[in-house]
Symmetry: D2
Subunit: 314 residues, 4 copies
């Protein structure tokens, strides 16, 4: 089912002009491919599951688009998919308006609630009297400003939206937290994993067998005892009833690494179910600190030793 | 600063007709008080911080309104607030339309993306050809249907929205997961905590000192060693840079319980900072399974014993 | 180097008439073999190492002969040996005298210090004025009473010593702790391990890499995370200097069990060295409580699963 | 019950001329006091319990006298006593003979089995043909050589035994392990503890409630979570039946330290019983590495914080 670049189609959380489109454009696979905006994360994911798209770029963590939980929940259920790449984008928020608007004229602002949350300090200082409305995405806000007859004076949106909607930038870097970034992931149907690079991340969802005290500690011990560090953990309700949880977990390393493999086998044995979501290069390129005794060669040495002592050769 | 009921004001995540309004109406404090919808979770919380409201009801977990992360992040930073009550509401989604609309006429549906995610199965079976648009909340979707000249035929929204926007119910219980619930919390400015009831929950945010391997395991051990069970944990980026985390943690019990007190003192000692978010009755009334040796009387007995042996009376 | 029974030689901690001889006589291998008493545990063990004996029976735990540490220390260093069987013997202490002695005549008693420690209550009640001397073993004490011209009236010794030294029993079961038992082990040169029986014990010595805080907890976690229960642990100075320790550890199960194998591979990776001392049937026949997820079939299932996901077949 | 030095009496594990006497003579309390040798560790301990002695010096760890277990077991049961001091002595073994004996004349050697174990290498090199007999202590061996008409040519014993029994030194430093030391403890009836010095040790015996899997891990976690390092641990059968264990544990720090106090209160809560054996200065003067967050001031700060948040002052 290989395709030439010109055949390839990638879905993303739209509309056009969001951070997610920018994330998708940053990966080599997207070059020359058809990029298809979808209204929701589930819709983008479904496009891949149905085979209408070869992959989908969706936000996973700390997005101003705010659909993180929805991504996690989609991946935890339904037809399995694999994360094959991640992208980190700085969250640079800009104030956009129709050409000719001056900053002092801005009385009515529109944006996504999470973007609003990140710009409240700036707004209080520079546009104290402005009224703020909310849209379903920062791009939708930009579009609302660009529309003919719009009642909004300015949108808070991603820089990419300026060009897309023919708006001008009245101010940029207006987020209260410098250096905030969003993590996006590229999803595909199951297939060969990306090769280990030495700076990888592995993502799994663990469904606990029963909600007994200490269940989480047991899960973490499976990683800790093999020297595998976690980079993210979230308990997520499974939807059966609040209080029944699964855990969405990212750890350092690739499933091809001996320590990661043994850790998630341990997880598999103590959990009701484990869904493997993929091993892929870290966008920040950070190599793990490997604890002594947990390199592949250490596992191989210990296996050789065990084989010998099982035959009584001590 | 006591107020009579008639003076009391409570903010909530609006608009009117959301599940959050229903949650607020279910608590005794709201009776006779002025209830004020706010456009975003941060806005509702700010109303309390500024003193414009006595409290705010906001969703915390698994909301169809999707603002969970925003609630967590707001509580983790800024002026401290306390959670003094929690409310669990079943997520009952309904298909609402203007009077006179038949289900077969429905071609264009509007709703919040998370509500859409929960109703996709039903929509595929009963309205396979319908086009779905998204709004910033289920109530905004209902309003969009109710507006004169609306281009939408129906909204997926909370039952409370039908009455609020003069719509009729074409179908109810259309969520794919029966029994899903949302957890809401009532926030107030710091003051006396709710009394222990024997079935309480305590919520804290722990900021780790540095991102060393095993940090999470150390945090969990502080709870486990005192027999305190966690009911929720999430690593959250602190905003400084992705990869720097804090942990949002709910545990069983009240901070007045000896085991909970000692556990969070331990947390305080190993963390860069700990923010206490409150101890309050569990909405589900579930009493904790208390591990032998962790009742208040066990702590008191051990303290008496330590005092004696420190004086050499063995 | 197979031998017929008539050729076989077994060493044991002597002299004749000790509990250790009784332990050796209880194992099938000893039938028809030459049994050789040795003056010390190291001497008995050296006989095996040199090839002068096919095996050696020595006390390991709670012996009235008191040579436990010496057994552990001998096994931890020197040429490797394997434990191939264990024997549990009740510690039944008897008061033995030359024929014609009445209990009222007993003024001077001789025994091993540990046997004395176990009979002090009985002596205080029944022979309050008697003077107690010590010998290097209970059998040596019996011999001292049996010698012509002995100045001792009675010995506290094992029942087997009565016949051996032609003494009579003035009282039996005189130990203060009913039900105390001693554990003995049969040692051999390296060779095939005893087959798993479902009720086995595995013994290892773990030398820690450096004396860092938490080293012991790490060691125990390797066992705990695979559901392997410990039945004995002792920190032992390695002799280099006090404070440098190794750990002598017995656990449930056979090294052929997947969970035991993985646990001691883990031990091997985090320790400076691990010496495997053997897997052998438990003398008490107690089968382990196996934690869910730690049977051999659970390990095999997890391995199959890992192999699949490593190929991207999720 | 204060006594002048001339009234004070101290028991020790005899006979005269052992390492234990040397240990006792090294502590200030022994200056001018009457020192009373006792034949066994239990006898020395009983002298204190009965009030016949003000204290007793007994070996605890790695003694060539080999009575370690007996000391542990005596302290774990019976009338409670406190360890108030510890002494470390290098194990310097010497070959002693009657004046006029030359090394080449030595054919028959006598010593304690543990001393023999430590000198086997030297004996094999320098006295390969010598026959070795065993005595109940190294001092008893020296005495056996000194006796008129002795059939032994030389004893392996402590240097102090030469003067005591008028023997001459044929060789010294003949132990195979240079730098081996023995640890002795001074026991007293309950009374005020030694003051904290900043380099202390605390000793306890923990009786587990039931022999469930993970019991030991729970015990160690109580120490680990408060940053208290263990320096020794041994599972010891309680005598009820083999397999029922208590744990004899030494840890760093003084029970007056907040972290040690909280750790052993935790131990007390999860165990069937805990016997406190004392807090006393370490003989090696080694100060503990104190983990961040576990100093007394950290505990005090956390207590103040807890008191505030319990009143809702966040």
């Amino acid at each position: 089912m290989a395709m030439t670049a010109s055949d390839a189609r990638y879905a993303y959380l739209g509309p056009e002009g969001t951070f997610t489109e920018a994330a998708l454009r940053s990966v080599p696979e997207a070059g020359g491919a058809v990029l298809v905006p979808e209204p929701t994360v589930p819709a983008a994911i479904d496009a891949v599951r149905r085979g209408d798209a070869d992959g989908a770029m969706v936000p996973l963590e700390n997005s101003v688009e705010g659909t993180v939980n929805s991504t996690l929940d989609e991946l935890a259920g339904g037809e399995p998919l694999l994360i094959t790449a991640e992208v980190l984008l700085p969250v640079t928020l800009t104030l956009l308006a129709r050409p000719g608007t001056r900053r002092d004229d801005v009385k009515r602002v529109i944006t996504h609630p999470h973007a609003y949350a990140q710009c409240r300090g700036w707004l209080a200082r520079h546009l104290p009297g402005a009224e703020v409305s909310t849209a379903t995405s920062t791009a939708a806000a930009a579009f609302a400003v660009a529309e003919e007859g719009s009642t909004y004076d300015a949108a808070i949106a991603a820089p990419i939206a300026a060009e897309r909607y023919a708006l001008v930038t009245l101010a940029d870097g207006i987020g209260d937290r410098d250096g905030a970034v969003t993590r996006f992931v590229l999803l595909r149907r199951p297939g060969p994993l990306p090769e280990p690079t030495g700076a990888d991340r592995t993502s799994v969802v663990a469904f606990i067998a029963d909600d007994h005290p200490g269940a989480l500690l047991e899960i973490l011990s499976e990683f800790a005892v093999r020297g595998v560090n976690l980079t993210r953990i979230e308990s997520r309700p499974t939807g059966e009833r609040l209080g029944r949880y699964c855990f969405s977990i990212d750890c350092e390393g690739h499933v091809a690494d001996a320590r990661v493999g043994e850790a998630i086998m341990g997880l598999r044995r103590i959990c009701a179910d484990v869904r493997f979501l993929g091993s892929f290069p870290r966008a920040d390129g950070a190599a793990p600190r490997i604890r002594p005794g947990t390199r592949d060669v250490d596992f191989a040495t210990a296996e050789g030793w065990l084989a010998r002592i099982r035959r009584g050769r001590v």
